[in-house]
């Protein structure tokens, strides 16, 4: 039996954990026993223990003074006018920030007593707007420690594809060697003097640092756009995603630099342990997350992919197939499917006025959809099979737009949103309420097509799952009504867009796990 590179890597993690633990303090060694899962904020409930612990930890750190305190930790990164110890624009950017995040993670575990805590990450490719838990000034009548009043981004502002889109991430994950991916060495570096660490902008930035890293900082704005950005509690969730992308890059076969000028550098007295003593890791100590007490996967990804699908996945496939085999899911009484429907009696959607179709649903049936965990962005680049299996596992929710009557559809994109209270033709596809788009080509439905035969009105199936997770994951209760919204927009901004669309009926199907 041969081992794949990934299996070797994962085995290496476990072996490495044992070796490194022998040289650690009791608390740190304990942490190695079971690396804690860093989870995505995508759909994370407001009362999730991870968010509650982070809120408590931030509050306690803000109230503290001395080495282990919010103000002191932030000052390690920088102050209002300049960076302090943190490297930017040089090749220590990634390992330094990994150690910096560890300081927070370990301090919060210690302060809150929650040893299961691991920092959550903001997967901004999946969720383009700021995470809901960070935008409310108050929570249960008390000040929200995760809220920062100086931010410039509003809760409805969205990061664009050019900054964090899947195309950018796939390009980053394909980069090689390390100095292209993770920013290059300072020009002229020939020794391990500490001054090379924060030799700011002495190397050439790679895409990861200069594009999503920099631009998410300035998108959020306020303190987050400045050198003292670590005063904003969203900083750690942003950097955690940067750290996750580094992890994905190595999992996908990327090789960290073997140059001892990189791996041999010690961040001398840059950080603090939870007890206030200095924490001075070398870069070589920081290459694999698991020995450091955290991980980004709860179960190792199967690699190479297995030929047969797990029974649970096969079962879900069968349910999905049955959805598409019937002409009305609401009347078909399919096993494991809760279905709901509404007929459409409102005017057709136009650019000027969207069409909204409210469908009453059972909030209890929707709850598993709201609480499910979708795979984070980028995992598909590691194992498409695994990403697909994760994607279809668990409860899902679909909408079927039946017999769509459309007209004047040239240059018209039909965007579907869900429960958006401020929808207009200007609402971007990066909005959290966006579901997907569809379009038509050829002759208009109901009119002559090839050979003069009447063109049937099309029916469309759309997956609402990810949008429901994103919009309602942080809410206390699932919604009892899904408002499916169709908003036509011009494909080419300069062209005429007179497209209309109106389904005769909308069915909602909730597929149980």
């Amino acid at each position: 039996m041969t081992s794949s590179r990934r299996e070797v890597l994962l085995q290496g993690c476990i072996i490495g954990a044992g070796i490194i633990a022998a040289n650690m303090t009791g608390m740190e060694a304990l942490a190695q026993a079971a690396p804690k899962l860093r989870r995505s904020l995508h759909g994370m409930a407001s009362n999730d223990p991870i968010l509650q612990t982070w809120r408590d930890g931030v509050r306690l750190l803000k109230a503290a003074s001395g080495n282990v305190s919010w103000a002191n930790f932030a000052a390690i990164h920088g102050n209002a006018s300049s960076f302090n110890l943190c490297p930017h624009g040089n090749w220590y950017f990634l390992p330094w920030h990994r150690a910096y995040l560890l300081s927070y993670e370990r301090a919060v575990r210690q302060l809150t007593g929650n040893n299961d805590f691991a920092l959550p990450y903001w997967d901004w490719t999946e969720d383009r707007q700021m995470p809901p838990a960070f935008v409310e000034p108050t929570l249960n009548g008390q000040p929200n420690p995760l809220f920062e009043p100086q931010r410039e981004a509003t809760p409805t502002d969205s990061l664009p594809d050019s900054t964090v889109g899947p195309g950018i991430i796939s390009g980053i994950l394909a980069e090689s060697p390390f100095e292209t991916f993770g920013t290059s060495r300072p020009v002229g570096q020939n020794n391990l003097d500490q001054s090379w660490i924060n030799c700011e902008f002495c190397g050439t930035s790679g895409t990861l640092e200069q594009t999503p890293h920099n631009l998410v900082h300035v998108f959020v704005g306020g303190i987050m756009g400045q050198a003292n950005s670590a005063l904003d509690a969203l900083f750690m969730m942003h950097h955690c995603n940067i750290d996750r992308i580094w992890w994905m890059w190595t999992q996908g076969g990327g090789s960290d630099s073997s140059d001892p000028l990189w791996s041999g550098m010690m961040f001398q007295n840059n950080f603090f342990n939870p007890d206030g003593t200095p924490y001075s890791p070398k870069v070589s100590d920081l290459l694999i997350p698991e020995p450091l007490g955290y991980t980004y996967v709860d179960t190792p990804l199967p690699y190479p992919p297995t030929g047969t699908q797990p029974p649970v996945v096969v079962g879900q496939y069968e349910k999905f197939k049955s959805l598409y085999a019937v002409s009305n899911v609401a009347t078909a009484k399919l096993s494991g499917v809760a279905s709901f429907a509404a007929s459409v009696d409102r005017p057709a959607a136009t650019v000027a006025k969207y069409l909204e179709i409210p469908v009453d649903v059972d909030a209890n049936a929707l709850a598993p959809v709201v609480r499910r965990r979708s795979p984070s962005s980028g995992l598909e680049f590691l194992s498409l099979t695994n990403a697909r299996q994760q994607f279809i596992s668990g409860a899902r929710c679909y909408a079927f737009l039946r017999e769509v009557d459309y007209a004047e559809h040239a240059n018209t994109e039909y965007r579907v949103f869900l429960n958006c209270d401020y929808l207009s033709a200007g609402t971007p596809t990066t909005d959290r309420h966006y579901v997907g788009s569809f379009g038509f080509f050829g002759p208009q439905a109901g009119h002559g097509g090839h050979g003069g035969k009447e063109v049937r009105k099309p029916s469309l199936g759309i997956d609402l799952t990810s949008t429901i997770e994103r919009v309602y994951g942080s809410a206390a209760t699932p919604p009892g009504k899904l408002r499916v919204q169709i908003q036509p927009v011009a494909l080419r901004p300069t062209g005429k867009a007179d497209g209309t669309a109106k389904p005769s009926r909308v069915e909602v199907a909730i597929v149980s796990a």
Binding site: D157, T163, N214
Partner: protein
């Protein structure tokens, strides 16, 4: 008559002096990007490209930035485009300035940002356009400036 001759000589000398200065200023202006005006610069290969074989590391454009002025409101991003032989443009990357604060440095301290250059375009000198693009949700980008020093292909 003599006065007119002296005037003519004087004006001629002045024009002779001003012309090169104006040329330099024009080139300098092209290296300053604002929302309404992109910077135009030429990137030259730092090394010769021996082939475009698949096993060669992908060439990258390095853009040297020596100055930045943030917008009065909101945020901006720099967008780098390459002019293709057929005259069309291809975007090769986007970058942001963090921290979002003004700076001016000399060329030895220029901040360097790198972008993958499609191999088919890495045949020699390439013309680059660097645009300042505002985040429209947060502002117009007014007041933002990016001062570029040079670009190279590695």
């Amino acid at each position: 008559m003599r006065v007119r001759r002296l005037w003519t000589i004087g004006v001629g000398c002045a024009l002779a002096l001003i012309a090169p200065i104006a040329t330099i200023a024009a080139e300098g202006d092209q290296l300053l990007a604002t929302v309404n005006r992109p910077a135009i610069l030429t990137a030259t290969p730092a090394r010769a490209f021996e082939s475009t074989a698949a096993d060669q590391p992908a060439p990258r454009v390095i853009v040297h930035v020596t100055g930045y002025e943030p917008p009065q409101k909101g945020a901006i991003r720099g967008v780098v485009k390459v002019k293709k032989p057929d005259g069309s443009e291809q975007e090769i990357g986007t970058f942001g300035m963090f921290p979002d604060t003004a700076f001016q440095v000399d060329s030895s301290r220029a901040r360097r940002y790198s972008f993958p250059l499609p191999k088919e375009l890495a045949t020699g000198v390439v013309q680059l356009k660097v645009e300042v693009v505002p985040d429209k949700a947060q502002g117009t980008g007014e007041g933002a400036q990016l001062k570029l020093e040079r670009a190279e292909i590695q």
